[in-house]
């Protein structure tokens, strides 16, 4: 039955509709795969009983002929999404044994459409990290290894569990969230497809907040088409999130295979970094060539404020985080470390409950919002953000349909290899992705090739607001040209 795990979501949907196999069989195959892959540490909570029961329900719905668009498809859910009755921790000790009484809007829409919950996926604590090493449940292994090496590599972060599980065929797709690159970077590190939709496309209700003005949910999937199918169910207006936008959700799958002839693709000159590895450069050119062959027109564009994006991001995101994480105080839920008075209770709980990276960002955020520093840091960062947004708007006004960039400055690295002495080394992972969050635009990462050590690399396409369809059409062209990549199983 293990070959059931190697199907794409589209193929599985057909098999279920044709009754070639049942959702229970498909779900069991993935549950077995999860069990066999515990060394990857991708799942922090497995829910086999719930999975089987949801699968049986999906089978019944399929038999009755009222199957939803994702009926019987087993998925993994990033532990940032609140799942009713299933422990949700954001991979932080401070949410120790938190079991929500509510379901996030995004996941409830997946269940509405018939999907099956396999379990909760590992991530960087409160989604703060680029390697999944800050999780209180420990790091996640990347199914990919360097040629001829047994060293375990990181899957990227913060949605490391999602990317690893999808790449290792443990689930047919996964939810993820992206604040500065947390969907696209791990997708690129694991040869999976990840899309961060336009800010406001998916409801944030029920997702543990990191930085509210940047956070956005999206899928990590095995193919561009699979990502389109998942996003259609995840997206939509939610009156419970006033920043979600009330515009219809298109049938994203219909964009797959649509001609990209005549589309204008921008190549931003500021993304050509000093000392960029030659293989990244090569990959980028290959991507441009593939799109050109498909009939697109490639133009050089300028995004002059790109170099300020990362520093500005590391002011805005921690500022919001420092406030968003204030609610984890040991008073109402989660971890409580007693103290002689309320201040001590706060101090003990937060000292014990938060990891080092979270503490660092809470402190940075508190600092930049402090009296006397607000104008110099937060206000200035918001101004930079407006300029970054304008850079993109200027491109789109000139008729550019999408922008092509590398997804990451390098391939996956080893556990413990980066950021030990200097956290900025880790932050640099997001250099190509944060601009997209700062501007609120949609961005997709698609696998495009391998580096000299046999590790996958991805390309990023950035689109106009709410034009995810163009990204799917272009992403499909790259996927068709580059082919799909699977890691050799070692776990």
């Amino acid at each position: 039955m293990t070959d059931l795990t190697s199907l794409t979501l589209a193929a599985a949907r057909k098999g279920l509709a044709d009754k070639t196999f049942t959702s229970l069989e498909l779900t069991d195959a993935h549950l077995s795969a999860i069990e066999a892959a515990r060394v990857l540490n991708a799942f922090v909570m497995e829910t086999p009983d719930q999975a089987r029961s949801m699968a049986r329900e999906a089978d019944a719905r399929i038999a009755r002929g009222d199957a939803g668009p994702l009926a019987g498809i087993p998925l993994g859910i990033k532990d940032l999404f609140a799942t009713k009755g299933v422990r949700t921790t954001a991979c932080s000790k401070i949410l120790d044994n938190f079991v929500p009484t509510y379901e996030s809007t995004v996941t409830s829409q997946l269940w509405r459409d018939g999907a099956v919950l396999l379990g909760k996926l590992n991530n960087d604590e409160f989604a703060m990290g680029s390697s999944n090493e800050t999780s209180c449940f420990g790091p996640v292994g990347n199914p990919w290894r360097r040629d001829g090496s047994n060293a375990t590599l990181v899957p990227g972060g913060s949605s490391g569990g999602s990317a690893s599980a999808v790449a290792a065929l443990l689930c047919m797709g996964a939810t993820a969230t992206d604040t500065g690159g947390s969907i696209r970077q791990p997708a690129a590190f694991t040869a999976t497809v990840g899309i961060k939709p336009t800010y406001g496309r998916c409801s944030r209700w029920g997702i543990v907040a990191f930085a509210s003005s940047l956070d956005q949910a999206g899928p990590i999937a095995r193919s561009v088409r699979d990502a389109a199918m998942l996003l259609r169910s995840m997206a939509g207006h939610d009156p419970k999130d006033t920043t979600s936008v009330d515009i219809p959700v298109p049938d994203y799958e219909a964009a797959i295979g649509k001609s990209v002839k005549g589309m204008k693709i921008g190549i931003p000159r500021e993304y050509r970094l000093d000392g960029m590895p030659a293989e990244i450069e090569k990959l980028w050119s290959a991507g441009a060539d593939w799109l050109r062959s498909a009939g697109a027109e490639l133009v050089e564009v300028s995004l002059p404020h790109t170099k300020y994006a990362l520093p500005a991001y590391y002011i805005v995101a921690p500022a919001e985080a420092s406030s968003n994480l204030a609610r984890y105080d040991g008073v109402r839920y989660g971890l409580r470390e007693q103290g002689r008075n309320i201040i001590e209770l706060y101090e003990n709980t937060r000292a014990e409950g938060f990891g080092a990276e979270v503490k660092r960002r809470v402190m940075i955020g508190t600092y930049v919002l402090s009296a006397g520093y607000y104008d110099a840091y937060y206000l200035r960062a918001q101004k930079v953000r407006t300029l970054i947004k304008k850079d993109f708007e200027d491109c789109f006004t000139k008729g550019v349909d999408a922008i092509l960039t590398p997804a990451t400055p390098s391939a996956a690295f080893g556990i413990g290899e980066k950021g030990g002495a200097d956290p900025v080394e880790m932050y640099l992972n997001d250099i190509f992705t944060v601009t997209v969050n700062m501007a609120g635009l949609p961005g997709i990462a698609v696998p495009a090739g391998k580096d000299a050590q046999g590790l996958p690399l991805g390309l990023q396409l950035i689109g106009r607001p709410f034009d995810e369809e163009t990204l799917f059409s272009l992403g499909e062209v790259i996927e068709q040209a580059a082919g799909r990549f699977r890691p050799a199983r070692w776990w």
Binding site: D241, T242, S323, I342
Partner: protein
């Protein structure tokens, strides 16, 4: 500023002037909280009106309650204030268990309502305009319960997230009397508008009072803020105490330290709560979970068109239309319920043009007097507006005299019933039949020839005859007729 409108304090070294500004927190009347669907009902079991948003569960998001916005705009209009079509919600960050989010959602740089003004009235017909700096919407906090356990404090989040309007005055208030008049007037306006019930005992209206002193007209002194006052009288007492305290320090050559103080009504003094150094850095920033609050001018105009008549306007109308004195009109409009009662009486009167002024006297003197005596308020009055109107009709049409009317009022107060029917059944009707009165007059003149003879020399003794005739008629004789008859018969 003229010193006639306010009081100066005498110090050992000369006169001092108080400069007072107030921040009033007024709980908004709405069914649900500012950013959640939980009920705002007062009381109830602890934590029985708490939504996931109020408890700040992970991943919860605030959604603005439009009714609270409407209430804030109505209030702004009632304060003749500028309504800002675009305002911003900010987070005020601080840790305390009554604030589960770890921040209060408030409005810092861009409030929903800008500058306005309130006219306050003082004794002796003096009035002063107090400027309003701004009004903004914010979340109320929960309540800590310290008496439930010997070792722990509990928290009740029922009130947490209920909408508050913070109404900030300009530092235009100059003494305790003005401060009390300001709160009284503001409270009255809120109650007319139906935007806050103004119940200070329940904490629906609380005031933070900023007090400083200076030489009259001189540069501003350093202020101290007295927090969380929930009684108009205490506000007056606290201001007097605080100003005296500051004057004493200054006259001893000391300096005022900017700080937050609390008023202890038992000891009648303020004491330090925290100094400026201990003040929180709230790290305000725009709440990224909420879009800026935007609405159209039409939205504002629509609310304006439906605004009830407010006390200042009502007072002017009472004076202009019914000839009431400014003082009487002020008394009637001070509380919305009193004005409503008076206007209901007017509606029921048979001849409003003739009797409106008499109705005002009756409401103010007889009704309010009686209510005050028994410590009741107008909503619990045993005599309703319809009954009072009937009594006034009976006087106006000459069926009963004012004196009989007082007896009738007492009967209605005690026993209830229709005044007109009571007059009939108890024979209280005024005697206007001249022949009947004439007979009584003749009898009394005949029985008192000496006194009758004196009247020509001492016209003031006519009153004695009037009294005798009224007494003999059981008070039912028409006093005017008695007077006329006596005068002609005695040749006065």
């Amino acid at each position: 500023m003229s010193t006639a409108t306010h009081k100066l304090l005498k110090g050992a070294t000369g006169d001092w002037e108080m400069v007072i500004g107030m921040e009033i927190h007024a709980q908004v009347i709405s069914n649900s909280k500012l950013f959640s669907g939980a009920s705002t009902t007062f009381g109830g079991e602890p934590n029985s009106h708490v939504s996931l948003v109020d408890a700040a569960m992970p991943g919860m998001l605030p959604v603005i309650n439009e009714e609270c916005v409407r209430q804030a705009v109505r209030t702004g209009l009632g304060l003749n204030a500028k309504i800002n079509l675009r305002s911003v919600f900010d987070r005020k960050n601080y840790f305390y268990p009554d604030s589960p989010q770890g921040y209060q959602i408030s409005q810092y740089k861009s409030p929903v309502v800008g500058e306005g003004e309130v006219l306050i009235e003082l004794d002796g017909g003096r009035s002063v305009t107090i400027g309003i700096e701004r009004l903004h919407l914010e979340q109320d906090a929960g309540k800590l319960l310290h008496d439930q356990s010997p070792s722990m404090s509990f928290v009740d989040l029922n009130r947490c997230g209920v909408a508050l309007m913070e109404i900030v005055s300009k530092p235009d208030i100059r003494d305790a009397e003005q401060a009390k008049a300001y709160v009284t007037k503001l409270r009255s306006i809120l109650r007319y508008l139906g935007t806050c019930d103004g119940d200070m005992e329940k904490g629906s209206l609380r005031a933070d009072v900023n007090v400083s002193v200076r030489r009259p007209g001189g540069p501003l002194g350093t202020r101290c803020e007295i927090k969380n006052m929930n009684s108009i009288n205490f506000i007056g007492q606290a201001i007097e105490y605080e100003a005296r305290r500051q004057i004493e320090i200054l006259e001893d050559g000391g300096a005022i330290e900017q700080e937050t103080r609390l008023y202890d009504p038992n000891k009648g003094e303020t004491r330090s709560m925290r100094s400026k150094e201990e003040a929180h850095d709230y790290r305000y920033f725009p709440d990224p979970d909420l879009l800026p609050l935007e609405f159209s001018q039409e939205f504002v105009d629509d609310l304006k068109a439906k605004l009830p008549e407010l006390p200042d306007k009502k007072k002017m109308r009472f004076v202009a239309d019914f000839g009431l004195s400014a003082y009487d009109a002020s008394v009637l409009v001070a509380e919305r319920e009193s004005a409503v009662f008076y206007e209901t009486v007017l509606d029921k009167l048979a001849n409003r043009a003739r009797d409106a002024k008499m109705a005002a006297n009756w409401v103010i003197n007889e009704l309010f007097g009686r209510l005050n005596k028994e410590g009741r308020d107008i909503t619990g009055s045993p005599v309703n507006a319809e009954q009072l109107a009937a009594i006034i009709d009976l006087i106006g049409e000459g069926t009963i005299s004012g004196k009989i009317a007082k007896d009738l009022f007492e009967i209605v107060w005690q026993e209830g019933g229709d005044p007109r029917a009571l007059v009939e059944s108890r024979g209280m009707k005024q005697v206007t039949d001249l022949s009947a009165i004439e007979k009584v007059v003749d009898d009394i003149i005949a029985a008192n020839p000496d006194k009758a003879a004196q009247v020509k020399d001492k016209p003031q003794s006519l009153g004695w005859f009037v009294g005798q005739v009224m007494k003999a008629s059981g008070g039912k004789a028409n006093p005017q007729s008695v007077n006329d008859l006596l005068k002609s018969k005695l040749g006065v």
